[in-house]
């Protein structure tokens, strides 16, 4: 009997809308079609199947893709310590409680997509002692555990900071340590909605001087569906001192800001990858990366992509909004652009120097799957200087099933790119071998 009901429930969750024409919104001036609203969300999440033995994603010619580490538990985020140790935040989406039809559908689809699981709540340290580009026996350590959906990691001075879903905590750190000691000190309590915390990742990054720390906090809901009260302090980037003092909202109206990085160059600025809203059609609203202005308002939930009004969200008569800023670079609607890493190194061909790698986790609210890849945007002097390109692809197989889903991106001690794959439970390593010596 339970099989009978489960089958019926899955069918109900799989109902979908007709597909509009596939047009992508990329770059500084993306195409923005008319919104298409519907009471039912379009649903098409690639079923998670994992990688066959020996298979892997595909990088441009000349690059070599290998498995840096395997057998992790939903690896979502990567951080490389100055001594070359690689830290992996193992954390996953928890099912929402309540949330009506959309919450129910989201749970069903995330289960299908492999995104939903008991969260390991752990950070694992990978030490490639022999620098062979592969984590072997005795090179893996539990760095921290009993955390709360950790994502953000940053070493600032003598402290290691962790972005839990409900708080930023810090631990004393000494170089070479393979495990953090103690329960950690809470330096900043973050907005948290019990039962269904919505966009739960909390990435963190420090400025170069280590004097300020920035925390990305996503919204609870798609478009403030449950009112703005529970969105207080969310859809924003917070700034604080390393001890948690002088915490303030640095920028707002950013629906789900996740990846952050410093672009470098003459126009060095904090950049963020933002996961935009759903249920306005296949080609709205594009996710984006943007430089972040102090005090900037980026529109959510009332506006998207500058001053395009989202008519689904009423502006209360007593609220006067600032003019929303237009983001810098669109990355396609529903691509789930989460990871962001600026490649300030010369281990890849010059084309890639200082450019941005973006981990696109992949769509669920689009009739044809998009994302499911690592994209690259070339930069020059801290600004985008070309079109977005595919860098690492092949996460979907020929049947459209997800063998993997890329999220966090970072660089290892050799200059290779590392990519967290939270369906394959693998850290991929993309290296560019030395060119052969001339004769």
């Amino acid at each position: 009997m339970k099989r009978f009901i489960a089958i019926a429930a899955l069918a109900l969750a799989a109902c979908a809308q007709p597909a509009p024409p596939a047009e992508h919104g990329y770059g500084a001036d993306p195409q923005l079609p008319e919104p298409q609203t519907s009471p039912l969300p379009t649903i098409n999440v690639a079923r998670a199947v994992g990688w066959p033995d020996g298979a892997g994603p595909v990088a441009p010619e000349g690059f070599v893709v290998t498995r840096f580490a395997e057998g992790l538990a939903h690896p979502r985020w990567i951080y490389t310590l100055p001594n070359g140790d690689v830290l992996i935040a193992e954390s996953s989406t928890l099912p929402s409680r309540g949330g009506g039809l959309q919450g129910w559908i989201a749970n069903m689809m995330q289960r299908r997509g492999g995104a939903l699981a008991a969260s390991a709540n752990r950070i694992t340290l990978l030490r490639d002692s022999n620098r062979d580009g592969q984590i072997g026996e005795g090179e893996r350590f539990v760095f921290a555990e009993n955390l709360n959906q950790p994502i953000g990691m940053a070493l600032v001075g003598e402290y290691f900071y962790v972005g839990n879903t409900d708080a930023v905590v810090r631990f004393p750190y000494t170089e070479g340590a393979t495990r953090l000691q103690g329960a950690g000190e809470v330096v900043l309590q973050l907005p948290h909605h019990e039962g269904d915390n919505g966009h739960w990742t909390r990435n963190i990054i420090a400025n170069e001087a280590g004097a300020k720390i920035y925390v990305a906090v996503g919204s609870v809901t798609n478009i403030a569906d449950q009112g703005m009260e529970i969105e207080e302090g969310r859809a924003a980037i917070w700034e604080m001192n390393p001890d948690g003092s002088e915490a303030r909202i640095f920028a707002s109206g950013l629906r789900n800001p996740v990846g952050m990085g410093w672009s470098g160059g003459d126009a060095n600025a904090l950049w963020v990858a933002v996961n935009e809203r759903d249920m306005l059609g296949d080609n709205l609203v594009p996710d984006y990366i943007t430089s972040v202005q102090d005090g900037g308002f980026y529109g959510w939930p009332y506006y998207y992509w500058g001053n395009h009004r989202d008519e689904r969200v009423e502006i209360p008569p007593n609220v006067r909004l600032r003019e929303p800023l237009t983001p810098d670079f669109a990355l396609g609607a529903h691509t789930a652009s989460l990871g962001l890493y600026f490649y300030h190194f010369d281990g890849f061909p010059e084309h890639y120097w200082n450019g941005a790698f973006i981990g696109q986790h992949g769509s669920w609210n689009r009739s044809e799957a998009v994302g499911y890849k690592v994209a690259f945007v070339p930069f020059s002097n801290g600004r985008p200087s070309g079109d977005a390109e595919d860098f690492l692809t092949g996460f979907l197989n020929a049947e459209g099933e997800a063998q993997g889903r890329p999220v966090g991106v970072a660089m290892d001690q050799t200059g290779a790119l590392l990519v967290a794959d939270d369906v394959g439970d693998i850290i991929w390593r993309v290296a560019y071998p030395e060119p052969p010596a001339p004769n």
């Binding site: 009997m1 339970k2 099989r3 009978f4 009901i5 489960a6 089958i7 019926a8 429930a9 899955l10 069918a11 109900l12 799989a14 109902c15 979908a16 809308q17 007709p18 597909a19 009471p39 039912l40 379009t42 098409n44 079923r47 199947v49 928890l94 099912p95 929402s96 409680r97 009506g100 039809l101 959309q102 129910w104 749970n107 289960r111 939903l116 699981a117 008991a118 009739s367 044809e368 049947e399 459209g400």
Partner: protein
């Protein structure tokens, strides 16, 4: 009237199957020394999708199912396991001498996300409902004559109601279960089995978020065979369609064939 007709049809089919044995009343005796281990497979095909996209091949998901019972006072302890791509799930239950469930618990990696999505009381209630739905429990302290229902009066409908609430369907669903005992026959491997066969249906609709009336209709043919010697399940299949509508328009239709075949061996 429908039940009478169904029962009559079942009687006729039973007569065709095994005219000698079918006339007898059976009294299943559940083994507490043997177990079943089953290979399971679910094949789903999208027959219609309003998006215009159809998968190139049916989705096939495999797994294993297992069950054994041990004595627990006058009653039984049940352990039912499922291994599947989303993780293993184990259902343990204590069942009294007349089949009533006194305690049930779900555990395993596959159950963790479900537990996290529910309040503890809801999760516990779902375990109780699932335990009531264990096929072997339906054999405890029961007798069957051809035409008599596998699910006692109202139980099937009650389980459908409880489970659809547990699964979080966003509107009430009513069900109808008509799976009578057919008779005894010999399975492909030569073992004697009792056969129940019939139809399960459920339907419901409701205004969702005040904007759309979502409807669900599911009809499945079900067959289950229990081993005569042990009362354990030998084989079960379900074959049917699910139709989802939005504001009266068909949005999705899928056909699903789900079943498992079991080997019986000592515990």
């Amino acid at each position: 009237m429908r039940i009478l007709i169904s029962a009559a049809g079942a009687m006729a089919l039973a007569a065709l199957l095994v005219p000698q044995a079918a006339a007898q009343t059976i009294t299943p005796a559940l083994s507490t020394t043997m177990q079943r281990v089953c290979a399971a497979q679910t094949t789903t095909t999208n027959v219609f999708d309003a998006s215009g996209t159809l998968p190139t091949a049916p989705s096939v998901v495999g797994g294993t199912r297992s069950f054994y019972a041990t004595r627990n006072g006058e009653g039984y302890s049940f352990v039912q396991g499922a291994s599947q791509p989303t993780g293993d799930i184990e259902l343990r239950a204590n069942v009294g001498p007349t089949g009533e469930v006194s305690w049930a618990e779900i555990s395993g990696p596959g159950a963790a996300p479900i537990a996290a999505a529910m309040a503890p009381a809801e999760f516990s209630a779902m375990a109780q409902t699932l335990a009531r739905d264990i096929p072997e429990r339906l054999m405890v302290s029961r007798t069957f004559r051809p035409g008599e229902q596998l699910y006692p009066a109202g139980l099937g409908e009650q389980i459908i109601g409880d489970l659809t609430r547990s699964f979080g369907l966003p509107f009430p669903v009513t069900g109808n279960v008509d799976v009578p005992y057919i008779g005894e026959t010999t399975s492909a491997d030569g073992s004697r089995v009792w056969v129940w066969e019939g139809r399960m249906a459920m339907s419901g609709s409701g205004l969702v978020q005040g904007r759309v009336t979502l409807g669900l209709n599911a009809t499945f043919l079900m067959r289950v065979e229990h081993d005569v010697a042990t009362a354990l399940v030998r084989m079960t299949t379900m074959d049917g369609t699910v139709i989802v509508t939005a504001n009266g328009q068909r949005t999705l239709e899928t056909r699903t064939i789900d079943g498992f075949t079991c080997q019986i061996s000592p515990q």
